[in-house]
Symmetry: C2
Subunit: 552 residues, 2 copies
């Protein structure tokens, strides 16, 4: 201790564990979690997190070990978000829509020693259970509110695991190093193997505070779990809602009827989701106009201005954020500007459909041209593109809410951080007002006659046609122009439109050269397990074996 | 870089400087500061902070140097909260109500090299200006909205200082070490010399986020500066309001008429202040009931339940916080509980008058018995008192929003952190619900017949009499009981009450033995420059030279 410094105690390492400790102290009897007919108070929540932490230790889990959970949005998944790190371990929340082989890869790569699996997902795990490299024990959750309630299972149950921790002393809600890893989230791996994105306690803590501020949470928040918790740890929301002392409303399946029933029953104030979730809510038979403002924080793909306006008319308040698995979920927010109120409503919605600016707790987002010879990560220069709303560049980010790296993949980490910033792989523009707008995933740009066409822009124009429910635009080969955009369209129930009508509509909305030459009406669009439209499948179908799928 | 880590860039040191950088990026044209007829946008604010930072450097200020400001709540004081640390220096905001000798002590002790002083406070500085040990330059602010507007001054002006920085490149809104000192705040020094409390960038950043959450700030916040910025850096509010992108409304003098005029003109949404500020607002001739909720965050002394109820009836929403200079201002908040709505209103107000629980970003507050031999700081045990709402102990705190120590006072630092926690010197109880209630400043307990009597409790009972405006209770000598409580009372304008009536009223409200035997009606109570009632003066008068003023 030098003459001017207090003891080490004046710095407390930042960790989301402190959030549950505090809410259990302050709101012990308040309902923390609603799940079907079940209610968990904050005292229950903290007690079960302690039991889980001790149970894992009693099961041989040691500091830094990985504990995997293959669970829907149930209370146990929330408990795991605290109990696993409380036990000193690292949470690996696995996507419930993956195949057995994909799950096996993640379990083996992460080196998980314990797997907690929902009984309904045993069918995914069982085929590979005997050949897992590191998992010593599979623990089954039979959710008393789920379809298997009351049935038995082989091996240890969730309750068995927790019971192993009974009788021990409470563990401290603390960490010694705020940069230690709290969780590993695997990317969906559209190209190549999934990568394990490491989050640290400090980043999770700060991102949670950022979301409280930007999504307008307060202790009266009633948050509906439409966003999967396995997806970027639900954008850190298990920690954020617990921090503010709000109520989590669980949801095993994202269905329109269930969502509307829970909104009505619990007067839900907040939910998060990709635009597909928003579409589900809007188009449910039960959809109605609300008599209060329900905040919907959306990301994953740019919401179309049309969607934003429709949602607002139903009483929803849209908060548009943008990020990736590598950024703890949201990194930017389309921060509202008061003078947008004066804009014509389509124009205003277009402002809101942009990805925006870094969150309060984030560094500024940049859009850069990457100058490199042969893309040597050690020798890369990042040059900001002009803030003209036109020049496309790569969106790059860094700081406390950017991952600490890919688990056991130094090469991918080095490449991702070329030049000292995390490379999103997304292309966008910087507007004159400093707001970033995503123009495309790098691989989805259509280059036609030397002009870059943003498929997002074309999609938004297609979506503004009243008969269109969903749309995806990809580049297809063209003799003359190299590529030209083609739209795949799902129509709204009971609505009808000819391709020619939609093309004319688009030509009336954006530059004519950007309009798709073809519109194909389809029953549904191919999607990944997380609901992203799989454009590569659409492209593959169109390009056949013409050799290249790259810009003409 | 190890195999599992990204480059160093993945950690960004926390600093409030990032708040102004962001708000200037996101809200360049928004009004950041209102001062009389003047308006400063966020772009202006950031530009002037840069000019100040560069101007200080051009004036020879080096990293870690102290820069003192003796200023009322004017825009330049807000600019200094960013510009001084942006220039790498440490801000020393000096109490404007001190005497020349007190100011001299602080300037010399802090080793400030530059002093910025408001023209109206030159009369305080001039008598000692020539004999200051370290100040090389005194810079005078002639506030264009102040009483000296348009007059000239000798030496450099604020504008001269800023102009020295013109033409240079912008400095980065960054620090290399988040634990480096951002400011030093001198205690009011009721006993002995003032001590220099050091705040670091990390603590200021986190405390700001905590206040945004607990005082319900959002980008529409219009914050009226009734709390002096020299007091704990205005509880970090210069940084918090800037972070959220709200509007600061400056105020040179805390007068009821001026406050009500500004509330009306700008539709103020938030203000902070000690109960004396609240009293000023409530009792102004202009006081009226508001048609919206204005959040008043109050601390400094426990507000009486009566005050809380009166304020609520006028439309104010009370957030009660507690802290000290050593804790960046607020450390605890009396977190609202929904089930308090069902309580009888006096009972509810009593719940709200408690100091509460640690803020979201703070560690839990403790109430402890200090076990030590001869109070050796190195050998102290802290034992939590029972959470029974009765047993008094000392309130102790630690963590990110507790000072890093007293500047150049290792002994006082070691003593303050005896046992690893910061000792507030305040006595309180821990209620069964985990809420702390301040019962007294250690030196203000009345021990009568072996029973501890909380002067705060007695004061609240006295204040619940409708004719009473202010009250202070101290222990006075008593032959039989050692001490007994005596109340000094200021009556409300136009109201009357006999001492006997007030005593009877108190006996009806709390245990009879706690009632004051004497009530003295006075014109005004002695107060410190920060508005705290100086009980030691009242005690001194009563105890005369009876030798001891310690509990009988």
């Amino acid at each position: 201790m030098t003459s001017q410094e207090a003891p080490e105690t004046w710095i407390t390492p930042l960790t989301p564990l402190s959030f549950l400790r505090r809410s259990a102290d302050v709101y012990p009897e308040k309902v923390a979690i609603v799940h079907g007919a079940a209610r968990h108070t904050y005292a229950d929540f903290a007690r079960d997190a302690q039991r889980l932490a001790r149970g894992l230790r009693a099961s041989g889990v040691e500091a830094g070990d990985r504990v995997a959970c293959l669970l829907p949005n149930v209370p146990e998944m929330l408990i795991a978000h605290f109990g696993v790190p409380l036990g000193g371990a690292v949470l690996v929340a696995v996507n419930t829509r993956l195949s057995s082989e994909e799950v096996r890869y993640i379990l083996d790569h992460s080196g998980a020693t314990v797997l907690v699996v929902d009984s309904t997902l045993r069918a995914v795990v069982d085929p590979v259970a005997d050949s897992l490299e590191t998992v010593r024990e599979v623990v089954t959750l039979v959710d008393p509110q789920g379809p298997d309630a009351g049935t038995s299972t082989d091996g240890a149950t969730w309750e068995d695991l927790l019971a192993r921790g009974d009788g021990g002393a409470d563990l401290p809600w603390e960490v010694t190093d705020e940069r230690s890893t709290i969780s590993i989230n695997y990317t969906s791996g559209t190209t190549g193997r999934p990568k394990g994105v490491q989050y640290h306690h400090r980043g999770a803590y700060l991102n949670s505070l950022g979301e409280i501020v930007h999504s307008y949470h307060d202790p009266a928040s009633v948050y509906l779990w439409t966003l999967p918790m396995f997806h970027c740890n639900g954008w850190c929301t298990p920690w954020a809602i617990t921090a503010i002392g709000g109520t989590h409303v669980c949801l095993r399946e994202v269905r329109g009827d269930a969502i509307w029933a829970l909104i009505g029953e619990h007067r839900v104030t907040h939910l998060n989701g990709a635009p597909t979730v928003v579409t589900t809510i809007m188009n449910a038979a039960e959809a109605r106009t609300l008599d209060y403002a329900l905040v919907v924080t959306t990301a994953g793909a740019p919401p179309s201005p049309t969607t934003i306006l429709e949602m607002e008319k139903m009483g929803f308040r849209i908060v548009h954020v943008y990020g990736l698995t590598e950024t703890y979920g949201p990194y930017t927010v389309c921060q509202w500007q008061e003078d947008w109120r004066g804009l014509e409503e389509q124009e205003r919605a277009r402002m809101q459909a942009r990805q925006g600016v870094g969150m309060l707790i984030a560094e500024p987002v940049r859009v850069v041209e990457v100058l490199a010879e042969e893309y040597d990560p050690a020798n890369v220069q990042l040059v900001d593109v002009p803030a003209d709303g036109q020049t496309m560049g790569e969106i790059v980010m860094r700081g406390n809410n950017v991952m600490s790296g890919y688990f056991r993949d130094a090469d991918a980490t080095a490449k991702a951080f070329a030049g000292g910033w995390y490379h999103s792989g997304d292309l966008g523009v910087m507007h004159t007002d400093g707001y970033v707008e995503l123009r495309d995933r790098a691989k989805d740009v259509v280059v036609s006659g030397g002009e870059n066409i943003s498929t997002v822009e074309v999609e938004q124009a297609v979506l503004s046609h009243p008969a269109v429910l969903e749309a995806a635009v990809v580049g297809v080969p063209d003799e003359r122009w190299g590529e030209r955009p083609k739209a795949f369209v799902v129509l709204r129930q009971g609505k009808d439109a000819e391709p020619g009508e939609i093309i004319d509509h688009v030509k009336g909305a954006i530059a004519r050269y950007k309009a798709p030459r073809d519109v194909e009406i389809v029953e549904e669009l191919p999607k990944t397990s997380t609901g992203k439209i799989q454009k590569f499948e659409l492209r593959a179908k169109e390009w056949g074996d013409s050799g290249t799928r790259i810009r003409g």
